[in-house]
């Protein structure tokens, strides 16, 4: 028996803004007007005081690697050539962070300062960021 299905997800209130930001080559976080809490990826509601979010802000694109891993296999369990380095990047003064791929020529280190490299042709997708690279 097989199941094959296709899904279409609307990015919703907050992530539509985030993806639109990526299309324009910017990182967008949500900011609570009541308690100033900022988070990326942005939410439509504040995780501290649970009020709807009105404000979205462009943040500085420089962040730091919080943790990383090197994947030697791909999604099918076969050897990945070259291996892919996954990084979780946090940004100064902003809660949350982004999971993405690291420039394959860089040797990752925790605390390393990195920035996103945007593709030339962008469509409003997380893949509009090609990868993160060292500053």
């Amino acid at each position: 028996m097989s199941i094959e299905s296709f899904y279409e997800y609307p990015a919703g209130v907050a992530l539509s803004r985030f993806l639109e930001g990526l299309r324009l080559g910017r990182l967008i976080a949500s900011k609570c007007s009541a308690c100033n809490h900022m988070i990326i990826p942005p939410r439509a509601y504040c995780l501290k005081c649970y009020r709807p979010i009105k404000e979205y802000q462009i943040i500085g694109e420089e962040g730091r690697i919080v943790t990383y891993t090197r994947s030697l296999i791909n999604i099918e369990g076969k050897p990945a050539n070259p291996p892919v380095t996954w990084v979780f990047v946090k940004f100064e003064g902003v809660d949350g962070g982004l999971l993405h791929v690291l420039d394959s020529t860089i040797n990752p280190q925790i605390g390393m300062r990195v920035r996103p490299v945007f593709r030339e042709q962008r469509i409003g997708s997380i893949l509009d960021i090609k990868w993160f690279t060292a500053v």
Binding site: I3, F6, P10, A11, G12, S16, E20, P52, Q121, I123
Partner: protein, 219 residues
């Protein structure tokens, strides 16, 4: 409220997507499909939320595709049942405690919580307990001109009824299709029997019974 314009597929989009998803989209012509985009657009046209801050100016859509293959083990009871079908026999089990004939068979009785290991053979004649006329396929967009008759068949001599009401407590029964009768004439209570595939075509599947057909001279 401003109308949001949902994002559209673009060649760029397909380039960025994982290969299998991009292929799926092209295979099904979804890159040219506009109906859903209009659907999302009209949903943002209407009032969609009571949270004032939640205006969406530019609704972005993303896509995902999953394909999974499953191999199910038929287990102890159904393996023997399928083996029986391959040999042109409908096999069931009988609970020695409550006397019920269990088709589809199981090796436990869920009424008595006892093991069941007595196997019985049934000729497969019975009545239509209920039926329906399916004008659509598993994919509801597929429409049949002539409906498929789908029925639950209750096997002769296995029905346990409650005298005080019309409710039947238990019957050995099976879901299958019925052919050889006009959809207008099929009815609850109609007598039917299995029509088997040729022995060399049987593989040990529920489809070894090709369909159920009315018993000649039956009401």
């Amino acid at each position: 409220m401003t109308r949001a314009t949902p994002s559209r597929f673009s060649p760029n989009y397909l380039q960025q997507l994982p290969e299998d998803l991009a292929k799926y989209i092209q295979r099904h012509g979804l890159d040219k499909e506009l109906g859903r985009l209009e659907g999302w657009a009209s949903s943002t046209e209407k009032r969609y939320t009571e949270v004032e801050e939640w205006q969406i100016d530019n609704l972005i859509l993303t896509y995902w595709h999953i394909a999974c293959m499953y191999r199910h083990s038929a287990g102890a009871a159904f393996s023997r049942f399928l083996e029986g079908l391959k040999n042109g026999k409908i096999l069931g089990t009988r609970c020695e405690n409550c006397g019920r004939v269990l088709i589809p068979p199981r090796i436990f009785c869920e009424w008595c919580f006892k093991d069941v290991d007595k196997w019985v053979e049934h000729p497969g004649t019975g009545i239509i307990s209920t039926y329906s006329l399916s004008y659509i396929g598993t994919d509801p967009r597929v429409r049949f001109e002539k409906p498929v008759i789908v029925a639950v068949i209750w096997f002769d001599g296995t029905v346990k009824a409650v005298n005080s009401s019309r409710t039947v407590l238990h019957a050995a029964g099976m879901l299958h299709k019925v052919y050889g009768v006009d959809p207008e004439k099929v009815h609850v209570g109609m007598r039917v029997k299995p029509v088997w595939r040729k022995p060399e075509e049987r593989v040990g599947s529920i489809l070894d019974i090709e369909y159920f057909a009315p018993v000649e001279g039956g009401a």
